[in-house]
Amino acid sequence: MYKEFTTISEVAGSLLTVEEVEDARYMEIVEIELQDGSRRRGQVLMTSKGEALVQVFEGTEGIGVGQSKVKFLGRVMELPVSPDILGRVFNGSGVPIDGGPGIVPDARLDINGSPINPVARDYPIDFIQTGISAIDGLNTLVRGQKLPIFSASGLPHARLAAQIARQAKVLGEEEKFAVVFGALGITFEEANYFISELRNTGAIERSVIFVNLADDPVVERIITPRMALTAAEFLAFEMDMQVLVILTDMTNYCEALREVSAARREIPGRRGYPGYLYTDLATMYERAGRIQGKKGSITQIPILTMPEDDKTHPIPDLTGYITEGQIILNRQLQHKGIYPPIDVLPSLSRLRDKGIGEGKTREDHPDVANQLFAAYARGREAEELATILGEASLTDLDRLYIKFAKEFEETFIQQGEYEDRSIENTLSRGWNLLRMLPREELKRIQDIHLELFYDNNQSSSSEE
């Protein structure tokens, strides 16, 4: 039925040129049969009358010019889905690797998805309590948000992501919750850590896991996150589940993309990454969100490691330009022994302002957050000045801010890996810190909140 060709004329990197092909479809899936009978899969990257350029997911070793057979399957890459995908582990191409049976699909979905119509979206506003003060208090996560973690080698992003997955909840609601985990070129240990975390908390039955490890085919990494997101879309929008997607490590994904681009001899953009990296990443990150009239949602926490801890490197840079904020981990805080080492100043949750405040968290929350940011920023600046000139040459106020910054790191950011703080707890830690500062310094806070929380508590504590 399918047309079969033995006309491979060139093999270069992960790419094959197949000749005499009259009408391959763009992005069509092909199956390559090697001489030893083994099969690989690939997709058409460019097609013209008489020639198709095919990218092979599992690598081209052993594929011979004019020998191997290429079969064009007439459809784009698909993921078979059904409710039975829950609790299962797949490889990076969507084949089960947990020894369980194959999936009897309800549907086969194009892994590239389609853009959500902006008018069909529902704005994410539901506060997710992660139990982590640096996130809940200052860089609040909401349901349907895409909020990446910018990490670097040796920092505890895996532990932080696992803690979020463990503790995340929407207050006051009983919901169908699911985790989709996509491992992209990470080590067996790291993947295993996540899987056993999910197992320990019993979340494994509500999880779908796709694994492409460091020693798995590099090009396969390009489809793995799309598999994961397709599964997530099915769970969220067909099965009404609240889905948390964790993809790690997006840096490995981008490197795979760069490799393919280089093999195609495309004009490279910054640092050798293809010029379309932004668009490519956007087609994945934008698959987070909520849709009007649907119960489910997709919240994405992609993790990436910043090469050389550099936030302006194209991978974090383009990610930040697409996602709705970022949580940035910082090596200095890690050295100070602070967990989670979240640098709150460059971190950001763009959806925070609609997810907090009266009726959602607490009416004083926006003001407290803004004031903590401003005060901590000032403290850090004063600290810098102090390291140059010595504390003695600072004003009294600056010295106070330095003390504030230190306390802030130790009592607000710092917390246990298994410590699950309520939002009230987080906010009252915030007020305890703000009470270190004189009232007129708290310009970001409206009078009514000062009266209720600053003045009141002061008088009540002096009564004690």
Binding site: D23, S48, K49, I116, P118, R121, Y123, I267, T312, I388
Partner: protein
Amino acid sequence: MLEGSTKGVILSVNGPVVVAIGLPGAKMYDLVKVGEDKLVGEIIGLSQDKATIQVYEETAGIRPGEPVESTYEPLSVELGPGLIGSIFDGTQRPLEVIREISGDFIARGVEVPALDRSKKWDFHPLVEVGEEVEPGDILGEVPETTAISHRVMVPPDVRGKIREIKEGSFTVEEVIAIVDQGGEERPLTLMQRWPVRTPRPYKRKVNLDEPLITGQRVIDTFFPIAKGGVACIPGPFGSGKTVVQHQLAKWSDADVIVFIGCGERGNEMTDVLMEFPELVDPYTGEPLMKRTVLIANTSNMPVAAREASVYTGITIAEYFRDMGYRVALMADSTSRWAEAMREISGRLEEMPGEEGFPAYLGSRIASFYERAGKVIALGKEDRTGSLTVVGSVSPPGGDLSEPVTQNTLRVVQVFWGLEDRLAYQRHFPAINWLISYSLYLPHLEKFWRENVAPDFSANRNLAMQILQQEAELEEIVRLVGVESLSFRERFVLEIARSIREDFLQQSAFQEVDTFSSLRKQYLMLKLIITYYQEGLKALERGLSLRDILSIPAREKIGRAKYIPEEKIETLEELIEEVQEEIANKLKGEVESNV
């Protein structure tokens, strides 16, 4: 139009770029339908019998041999009632209608007209039979929304005597007038079409002398933009470009807003869609959506349509300008548009220029911004209309030396430079006052003097000096510590801080603070300047810095931004309070010395 069209066939597919043969008579920029799914595309290259096409929809699954059909018409927009309040994709497909047809996700090959064909509009004629009309003359009006009366104009290529003019209720396709053009009958409808890549004609441009009032203090007072002017707002991710653009779309004193979400986030468009119908225009009292047109080609939507989106948007904006309206257009982000150009150019294997952008990047950017301006529109009336354009720029790594920023700075007159350091401190809008500029300042002096206050500019300039001085003093503090500064200098630092925190910082999300009238801006700054001037005098007369800094009114200066517009006279009282308190301290000082 489609008569005589012969079908060509696809030769190759490479992402959004398709090559076809066998399209006789094909012209550059003609619109074509590609493949069995009839995906919309545009011819962007011709050589011998081959046409290179950029396709506005996802091309996965398309193959060589499928048919290609030309419409022999360039990519055009439909201009008529029904634009306002709508949201379109980059090629003006109405997203609401697409949703009705294809559901929550955008399917391919959905063919829908931009303007509703069945909706009837009330048309009130303003010309009579026998009248001579020329391009741009107003035939009549349609109350399109409660905020905008749609002026139906004679299209640019029509001139002659009115033979027939109707009154009543019409769809956009029904004939409402017939013009006798040298013996030839030209039926006119409520709708006209215009090719997006061609600027709409006008009589002439005129000087800019009025500010676009945005309600944003750092913009209006420090770096204003004129109506008809051009501004850019570059900054790294998360520094506040979109928030500023949204603020402009919400609070500017324009009649019509065109907002282009070009290659940015889906949720940001949703945000506008949900918020604008609820928010009220401070000038007209009408919901903001009733003056807004949205173009959304988000980052995950096809890249070729993203390239087209800025043209679609600006053509619609020009159309309302031609009616005599004050139009403001926001493009967020022009970098994504430039990247779309780069992506297509790369697929065409054109010779790349800087950072892989095509060599024509600079000229495309320049001609886009050139479409802004204040003009005398076509038509006998000599109506004045303006089109203000504000583009966000998203430089990689926040580095302003990159080609898109540099080419943009060459043409714009206002530069609002956002800085991540300020954003980290949550100093919003994170517009760095030391690097930003507005070349319109001298042209607007007269307006401030006549419409706000004679000393508006003087206060502004003094505040700017104080901020400059702060930067110098901070340098000294960094080297030798605060001890080395005189009390006068320390007072300057305190005032600078007050200007930054109590004036420049403005929360977009706080109900009162989100918008400041010019009068409020003036009084707020005057308050700080009064404190400065009185304080300096008192210092000279021997009052201690501590005394000056401890006047009770100082805390009130910090909260002045929360004073609602209705209670603006409190600010005037506060100015007096500052004067009195310092005078009292001085008196106390003098007495205790006696």
